[in-house]
Amino acid sequence: MEGSMANIIEIGSLVKHFGKNAVLKGIDLAFPKGQVACIIGPSGSGKSTLLRCINLLETPDGGSIRLQGQDVTEMPTGLLHARVGMVFQQFNLFNNLSALENCVLGQVKVLKRSRAQSEETAMRYLERVGMLPYRDARPDQLSGGQKQRAAIARALSMDPDVLLFDEPTSALDPEMVDEVLNVIRTLKDGGLTMLIVTHEMAFARDAADRVVFMDAGQLVEDEPPQILFAQPRNPRTQAFLARSLRR
């Protein structure tokens, strides 16, 4: 087995096409346990697709993805999804269920936890994201920021090893962005591995252990934020950062 076991995720030569369009052109990446990595890059650079390949929401066309040394395509899908959680740009809460039930459903059906235990876990994480008072509210009764915080609690309730964030604040009104980013910041201390696709450069700079810059389906630069934001080496990174920071 290649790579060290300290890496929780190892991606090798990952390729993905949509029709004739090559979205990922051979990505190699490894993430140690507990690392918080932000993935940045222009729209259409393949950031989201990379994330969605990791939990097989997209089927890779080539290369390999390993979770603690195990090929994800060979894992039972329930187990893979229990261990790799995901937070979506559009929240995707279950609209027929309360915030609490959103967090309970997966625990009962997938992890086979008892109802009481599931509710206890759900309450704990709802409290952590500041949504405990709204546990009985349904998604259509919540604001965007509240929905996203509930969606984070839903993902955490499965006690995953890895949490993937697919542009978690892109669909939010500006004043709600911070409440969500602050919640994500608090999760850093828990030892959870987080991969965050984001356009929030300030957040990437101060919250990430590592920033990965992607462009046109390729990995262009991969550095700690202090280095990537201060002295980007690649001209494409420089151009992108100049554009994003000017805003």
Binding site: G78, F88, N95, N96, R154
Partner: protein, 258 residues
């Protein structure tokens, strides 16, 4: 013999009141059974037809799924593409002549109406599923739910609520269209009316009563369905536990726009 219209109505009701009532009962029974079973068929067919096919699945599984999808589409096309009156004849006399099965007319009626309704319901349910944004299905997959689990716990409860008016339509259609089953001598209200009309040759008067009966049945049904719809749309209230200043308080909120 009565001379006025209302006189005849009075006489026919006195004489054939129970006949009309029995017929109305059979009509409603066929409509309820046919719509309920048809709805269940529709749900099942829709779940099967939306089953995602993975490229990584073994060849035999893919083959099985393709065959199943073909058969389900064929079922829907055949039963939507032929009149129920013809289906009734084919099933009833087909069973009699070729399977030597003399199925009771009422059982044949249940069968034909259910299977016919199922074909329409399958499409209605499919539409309902398509109306739910696919992000929720993705989120269900992302926490590890199976297709069946995500359908029954997340997608269908929402889809059913949005298709309820269409399901109600099917119910009303079934109340009326079960009249075609008189061709296989099902004793529903149209069949009973024809028998009643035959005695005095008072077709207008009898079928005037019949029309009123149908109207009462359909009107009552639509009102009841409206109630069910209201019930299913869920509570308009929710409670927030605690506020920044008072942690014990429970605040009732009303959803906006209701």
């Amino acid at each position: 013999m009565p001379t006025s219209f209302f006189g005849w109505i009075q006489l026919l009701l006195d004489k054939y009141g129970t006949l009309f009532l029995q017929g109305a009962g059979v009509t409603m029974l066929i409509a309820v059974v046919g719509t309920t079973v048809g709805f269940l068929i529709g749900l099942l067919v829709a779940i099967l037809r939306t089953f995602p096919l993975k490229f990584t699945a073994p060849v035999w599984q893919q083959g099985l799924m393709h065959t199943l999808r073909f058969l389900l589409s064929a079922y829907i096309e055949v039963f939507r593409g032929t009149p129920m009156i013809v289906q009734a004849m084919v099933v009833y006399y087909g069973a009699l002549q070729y399977l030597k099965l003399d199925i009771p007319a009422l059982s044949a009626a249940f069968l034909v109406v259910s299977v016919n309704t199922g074909a329409y319901m399958a499409e209605i349910v499919r539409g309902g599923i398509l109306s739910i944004d696919k992000g929720q299905k993705e989120a269900a997959v992302a926490i590890g739910l199976t297709h069946w689990q995500s359908m029954t716990s997340v997608i269908l409860p929402q889809a059913i609520r949005s298709i309820l008016p269409a399901v109600g339509n099917e119910f009303v259609v079934n109340i009326k269209d079960s009249s075609v089953l008189n061709v296989i001598s099902v004793t529903e209200v149209y069949f009973m009316s024809r028998s009643a009309a035959g005695t005095y040759l008072k077709y207008f008067e009898v079928f005037f009563i019949t029309a009123v009966i149908y109207l009462i049945l359909t009107f009552t049904t639509t009102r009841l369905l409206r109630l069910v719809e209201k019930k299913l749309s869920g509570s308009d209230f929710y409670t927030v536990y605690g506020s920044q200043s008072d942690h014990q308080v429970q605040i009732q909120y009303t959803r906006e726009g209701t």
